[in-house]
């Protein structure tokens, strides 16, 4: 990967990307509220389990497939995967999250000349999930698939750890320890995701689904999911 592509990737994976990622905990806040997450170890176990049960086995391979479809200029395949992703969201909050982030990402891409073509291809196509818009941007900016998946996984983990720091709460150093542990497992998960055939994708994480369901009626919330 050339240095400019790396710069673009760091940009796409940055928490400063204005898509609202910081406002979502994906069920983690409910896990704290019900007492299931009280410590650094609890937070690490939850985040790792959610990663293994859904991100690694569904979201990453889907993202790879979308990037390959974008590269082949196969918009029909991109949108088919988009519909699959939206249909697979385990709870209403999780669907609302990806639709909102997808919308925000599209608005950003419209304003960036390097990515305006992606935004144009997705205009008037109904709800666009965040991976759909993000994968298009990654391909438009010359980012290869494997680093893109790694950055996506990292950004997700970083957001989860930040949510844990706020909600549990945890100290900053504890957060860094969690990121070191989560990062250790990522290369192997990404390598598997790159080769996982569609018939083996799995988005089954009942703990996450139930946490998201219960978060929808949680009395007091910092996060939107």
């Amino acid at each position: 990967m050339n240095t400019l592509a790396l710069v673009r990737l760091l940009h796409l994976a940055s928490p400063t990307l204005p898509v609202g990622a910081f406002s979502y905990s994906q069920g983690l806040e409910w896990q704290v509220d019900c007492g299931a997450i009280r410590t650094e170890a609890d937070a690490g176990a939850w985040i790792a389990a959610v990663f293994d049960a859904g991100i690694a086995t569904f979201e990453l391979p889907l993202l790879a497939a979308q990037m390959r479809a974008w590269a082949a200029d196969d918009i029909a395949a991109v949108l088919d995967l988009n519909d699959d992703y939206l249909a697979s969201r385990e709870a209403a909050e999780l669907r609302a999250e990806t639709v909102q982030m997808g919308y925000s990402c599209l608005q950003l891409l419209k304003a960036l000349p390097e990515c305006a073509g992606v935004a144009a291809r997705l205009a008037d196509r109904g709800d666009i999930a965040y991976p759909t818009a993000w994968s298009g941007a990654a391909v438009a900016l010359g980012v290869p698939v494997e680093p893109a998946l790694t950055a996506w996984a990292w950004a997700w983990a970083e957001n989860q750890v930040m949510a844990a720091i706020k909600a549990v709460p945890l100290g900053q150093t504890a957060g860094q320890r969690l990121l070191m542990a989560l990062g250790e497992a990522m290369p192997a998960r990404v390598a598997t995701a790159l080769e996982l055939p569609r018939e083996d994708w799995s988005n089954f994480a009942p703990g996450l689904a139930l946490a998201s369901c219960r978060h929808e009626t949680q009395y007091s919330r910092l996060f939107r999911s």
């Binding site: 389990a49 990663f51 086995t57 249909a87 697979s88 799995s202």
Partner: protein, 274 residues
């Protein structure tokens, strides 16, 4: 899988508004009980029980089923007991079910949970076609069990639920691919340490906000987990439960089904015991 399904049922509504089993084809290893009208709260509802005559599912079995409920008809199809998925030597058992609900139909497809024996590998695929105004209730549950009382676990379970409208548009989907060892090890993202899992898909439900509230108000005993949320694309609601034992899971699933039936018809189910 080619060839005819081993169970192929079609329900229709007669002029008096009573649902009957208009077509049936059944082959080994399935037996279909006589069509009954035994729900006191819905006397028009046709009730059919599917039974295994082979004692469960075995390696290399490839089973397909199709159940269609015609316009305005109402049917309840269930199993009288759980299906055991037996140990295997590296192969799998495959079961594919196609459920079709025509406009205004009601189909309750409520098989008892799959019991996964150590070394079993189950592949299950359910596809629902939901016409305008149709209601479909589908139960999808499993629980691991070692009959020797040990900690042996199933090898793998792969299960897919796909919901489409009458035009084939994808509405909702879930794909499950899990290894037994990982499932028994627990982990909050997977199962919070609770090994009995059930989903109740309430598809096509009208006024779904009311039903969602009713499901969320169901009491959940300490140590168990349950929740409900709207499905994508207006497909309906999914209710999920995790429990530490089969009795707990059954209670949660029955309560959710009863709430759904009451919402849909105005009355709780009043089926005679199987």
């Amino acid at each position: 899988m080619g060839g005819r399904p081993c169970v192929d049922l079609a329900f229709a509504r007669d002029a008096a508004g009573r649902t009957y089993l208009g077509r049936q084809y059944v082959s080994y290893p399935v037996h279909v009980g006589r069509a009954l009208h035994v729900d006191g709260s819905a006397p028009d509802l046709c009730v059919v029980y599917l039974q295994s005559v082979s004692g469960g599912l075995f390696e290399h079995e490839r089973l397909a089923g199709r159940i269609e409920v015609g316009q305005g008809a109402r049917a309840h199809v269930a199993t009288p007991a759980s299906t055991i998925v037996h140990a295997m030597q590296g192969g799998s058992a495959v079961q594919r079910m196609r459920l079709v609900a025509q406009p205004g139909a009601l189909l309750e497809y409520l098989p008892a949970p799959l019991i996964l024996f150590p070394g079993s590998h189950m592949v299950s695929d359910t596809e629902v076609t939901l016409a305008e105004g149709a209601l479909v209730v589908v139960a999808d549950s499993f629980l691991p069990h070692d009959p020797k009382g040990g900690q042996g676990c199933f090898a793998r379970i792969e299960s897919a639920m796909t919901v489409r409208d009458a035009q084939g548009q994808l509405l909702a989907r879930e794909c499950m691919r899990i290894d037994g060892a990982g499932w028994l090890a627990g982990g909050a993202g997977a199962n919070a340490g609770l090994r009995m899992h059930g989903s109740l898909w309430l598809l096509g439900s009208p006024a779904e906000g009311e039903l969602l509230q009713a499901l969320r108000a169901l009491p959940v005993p300490a140590g168990e987990l349950a929740g409900a949320s709207l499905l994508p694309n207006g497909a309906g609601i999914v209710f999920r439960a995790l429990a530490g034992d089969a009795v707990g899971l059954d209670r949660l699933m029955h309560a959710a089904w009863s709430a759904a039936r009451t919402h849909h018809t105005g009355s709780a189910p009043a089926l005679r015991r199987r």
